[in-house]
Amino acid sequence: MYIIVAGGGKVGFYLTKTLITEGYEVLLIEKNPAKCDIYMEQFGAAIMQGDSAEASTLQEAGAARADVVIAVTGEDEDNLVICQVAKERFEVKRTIARVNNPKNEQMFRTLGIDATVSNTNVIMNMIEQQIPELPFVHLLALKHEELAIVEVKVSPKSEVVNHEIQHIRFPRDVIITAMLRRGELIIPSGQTVIEPGDELIVVTRRAQEEQLRRLLTIDAT
């Protein structure tokens, strides 16, 4: 499987590193030549300098034979255009865009992007869900319009702070799949105590999204 990663920020860098370790053929495209020189030391031929939104760059990168194009720059408009150009001009089967502004998630789907993500781990899962023998397949349900993955940062003043997950009254149909605490990945259990600033990755029904956000981000008082 050949994967093109567009955008060599932190997400792009670590994603590329992980994908190479997993044994995929990967190419990271980064605009900034100085950054490319640094990455070249680590990735060798798996790095290319260029503007991924330009058709000529994608052509040189071999987009026509790519199975997946993942756009993870810091700009939503760039990620959208990279994915659309990959799809329209090079008929890339699967395009994944990083969404920096969560409001754009729905928008990107409307505009034909196959999947949107806001977190490296979730991107990994989406790639892996293509391989049938892995047990991650449930993420396919994401295609269902009612479902959403949301990333929420817990406000220090939220009522859930310092409570075990099992004792928090979440809205119905909400699952906390993972959390990031000071950059560490935690797979939570019922006994996990929520700390202020934890970033929760939650699978939920879209209808519950707003209620969930309110619970986690709004001042309890």
Partner: protein
């Protein structure tokens, strides 16, 4: 006519002034407050500070009731995304956008947007002014 312009650079400001002088209702969006200094103080237009690729910003500029949306920031991708929001989400009747990169212009033209590519336009004019310029393609045309 109601016109929403995204990008208050030289072109956006020019269009806003012309449209307003012609008696149209004008709104203009830009993310940089300094860019509005290009507009005359007495211009009758709705001015909105914000990024054009945000639905809510477009909404507050009245996108739901405009007939025409024109995206002319200096960033191709911003114009492309903003134009698609206006077209696909708000169903604006006329959506025009500027795209400098000819390849991208072609891609989005084929997706049903009205794309204006200055690079292509200027190249065409220059090539028309220089009759010998296109010799090779003329010859292949024979």
């Amino acid at each position: 006519m109601r016109i929403l312009i995204l990008g208050c650079g030289r072109l956006g400001a020019r269009l806003a002034m012309d449209a307003s002088a012609a008696g149209h209702e004008v709104a203009i969006i830009d993310k940089d407050p300094r860019s509005f200094s290009r507009l005359p103080g007495d211009l009758n237009a709705v001015i909105v500070l914000g990024t054009g690729i945000d639905e809510d910003v477009q909404r507050s500029a009245g996108v739901e009731t405009v007939d025409t949306f024109i995206a002319v920031t200096d960033n191709d991708n911003t114009n492309i995304m903003a134009a698609q929001i206006a077209q696909k989400v708000f169903h604006v009747e006329n959506v025009l956008l500027r795209v400098y990169d000819p390849a991208r212009a072609e891609t989005y033209q084929s997706l049903g947007l009205t794309v204006i590519c200055p690079t292509r336009l200027v190249a065409d004019v220059i090539e028309r002014e220089l009759p010998d310029f296109n010799l090779s393609s003329d010859m292949t045309g024979l």
